[in-house]
Amino acid sequence: MTITTTDVQTPPNASSTPAKNRAGDRNFSWATRGAGMLILVVLAGVAAFLLLESLPALSADPADIEGGEGFFAYVWPLVFGTLAAALIALIVATPLALGIALFISHYAPRRLSQGLGYVVDLLAAIPSVVYGLWGIQWLAPNVRGAWQWLADHLGFVPLFTGPASATGRTLMTAGLVLAVMILPIITAIAREVFLQTPALHQEAALALGATRWEMIRMTVLPFGRPGLISGVMLGLGRALGETMAVAMVLSTGGFTWSMVTSGNSTIAAEIALDFPESAGLKTNTLIAAGLVLFVITLAVNMAARRVVTRRQAFSGAN
């Protein structure tokens, strides 16, 4: 949110005698300014420490990095896994979130919709480790059969090459868990903008004889598009950076095109799984991978902000 509000300014000092310079005022304003600067320092610190600690990995002899072919050969399969899992999550979650948001805002009875909105907000607050536990214990065994079917019938597509994982702990499953996690986030934002569609627009459309869907297509969707896009982008940012769900659900391994066998890994999962036991150059390599993740999510989030300029009230905070 850019600072454009000028209405909260101190009244202009119209009187000829300047206000007394009070110590309390000075200290307080400096304290607040200091807090603001501290935030900048922390962020600079995050970037600086990540850079500093990843330099050894970037400049090391390629043979010393895990895999023996240098940092970029090490990191690109992780980037692929990260993007693939997030993409699966988006493809699954976006249409569903759109449907739920429309259901809550325009289809459900009004009394029901308020309660539903509250439930969706609560679901968005469930910690990721709980989703991870659910994914490994409930989802993976239940979708195993579906991946088997995909491998049997669509095995000629590189993405579904068999043999399917016997445990169901594949990148597809991880992507589904991510989809379930970002579903409430996208839904909450989409519902919020849909509800803000001017009632006059909707009533005008209905008065002209539009059916409910035509009314939604003509008034709600155009009005809510920036909000919907920003919700999707924020969901994407969350899916890219999400660690625990993938670290727990996916049985990680080397790069493979197939989404239904075990293998692949994401940057965040790799860090969570390896960092606690890492030492020396391996630590630096993982931090450098974290830097790559930081840059990717930064790019996505900044793109999202750019889209939202029309609806600035939406932050990614919750």
Binding site: M1, T2, I3, V8, P11, R22, G24, D25, F28, S29, T32, A35, G36, M37, I39, V42, G45, V46, F49, L50, P95, L96, L98, L102, F103, P127, V129, V130, Y131, L133, Q137, W138, V180, L183, T187, T211, W213, G237, G241, T243, M244, A247, M248, A268, I271, A272, F275, P276, A279, I287, L293, F294, T297, L298, V300, N301, A313, S315, A317, N318
Partner: protein, 367 residues
């Protein structure tokens, strides 16, 4: 809008032919039968039944509406059933998450689970318990304590910084610095939690030697995630304080800082408190930053400034991924579920508190 002209009905009235009100219900019942038949043909399973019934319903209602009511109504009915279907499909995983947590977590959850730690509990105990030779032992007291200490420390760091920064943005900030802070707070909301953890780990590694892990490092990592949330929510709340209040205070000759502290903050305090509670709820379940900064332990650690410290999310993770007994993981999994239930209860309670605070302490509107 491209419309087909409304066909004038034979009776010459303005009304249009419509499907009877009971049409969707009847179609749904018929489709359920069709779905049962279809799924029986491929070997009965619940998903096959639901998909079959759904497809049958959508096809039937769309075609029927198309014949009786015209194309536009048919599209409308199709979209309506799609929206309901999306909602129904999305309910499955969400209900399943809640149900799994409750059903698997409740058996082990209780006072004993919350008051004992995992110290000296080994895989042998778990094997004996699974064979029925010994009671199930081992709880999550150390993890609850760790979560409480780490979150409290993170709150102590984040709230003053976040609140003061939001006051700066609303009351003082002009020009380049304020714009920079706003922009970078936005950037900070997007930091992946694991990256925040890496930052804290690297920071403490540089300051106190490589491999330093303690609760305070975890609190620093959580603060990086929490500060932007606090700034955002407090800023929004401070901005909606009416300017008349500030002007009235100035007119009485009150210095600006006292006007902020005694007039602006009390007016917005309910929103700010609820925002802070939501921020706590957000970081209390963070796992990734804690496993790289605070580590794991099975013992009670009261001191967040020394030694590894367990937290509830890390407890769930370690019990699920590295069971105490490799051959009989069930007791460990039960513990993981019980800890997950504890975590969910904490998060839900915080959310409820936030709502209550926002409602109960909202400024009274006399107008």
């Amino acid at each position: 809008m491209t419309t087909d002209a409304v066909p004038a009905t034979a009776t010459g009235t303005l009304t249009h032919r419509r499907l009877p009100r009971y049409a969707p219900a009847v179609t749904l019942a018929l489709s359920a039968a069709v779905g049962a038949g279809l799924s029986a043909a491929v070997g009965f399973s619940v998903p096959a039944f639901v998909v079959g019934a759904l497809l049958a319903y959508m096809a039937t209602i769309t075609i029927a509406a198309g014949v009786v009511e015209g194309r536009r109504k048919a599209v409308d009915r199709l979209v309506t059933s799609l929206v309901y279907a999306a909602f129904g499909i999305a309910l499955v995983p969400l209900i399943s998450v809640v149900w799994s947590v409750l059903a698997n977590g409740l058996p082990r959850f209780g006072a004993e689970f919350l008051t004992t730690s995992l110290r000296n509990v080994t895989g042998l105990h778990d094997q004996q318990a699974a064979e029925g030779l010994a009671p199930y032992i081992g709880g999550a007291y150390h993890a609850v304590l760790g979560t409480f200490l780490i979150t409290a420390l993170a709150t102590l760091i984040s709230v003053p910084v976040g609140l003061l920064a939001s006051i700066y943005l609303v009351e003082y900030g002009r020009g380049r610095l304020a714009r920079a802070i706003t922009f970078f707070v936005d950037v900070m909301t997007g930091i992946p939690s694991i990256v925040a953890g890496l930052f804290a780990a690297a920071l403490f590694g540089v300051l106190f030697g490589v491999g330093t892990r303690n609760g305070f490092a975890g609190a620093v990592a959580l603060s990086v995630l929490m500060i932007p949330v606090v700034v955002r929510s407090s800023e929004e709340m401070l901005r909606i304080v009416p300017n008349e209040l500030r002007e009235a205070a100035y007119a009485l000759g009150i210095p600006k800082w006292r006007a902020v502290v005694r007039v602006v903050l009390p007016t917005a305090i309910s929103g700010i408190a609820s925002g802070i509670t939501l921020a706590i709820a957000r970081v209390v379940g963070e796992t990734a930053p804690l496993i790289v900064t605070a580590g794991f332990t099975s013992s009670i650690n009261n001191n967040p400034f020394a030694d590894w410290m367990m937290s509830l999310p890390a407890y769930v993770y370690s019990q699920a991924m590295r069971p105490l007994s490799g051959s009989t993981p069930e007791p460990s999994l039960d513990r993981a579920w019980a800890a997950a239930l504890t975590l969910v209860i904490i998060v839900m309670a915080l959310n409820l508190v936030a709502r209550l605070v926002a409602r109960l302490f909202a400024p009274k509107n006399s107008r």
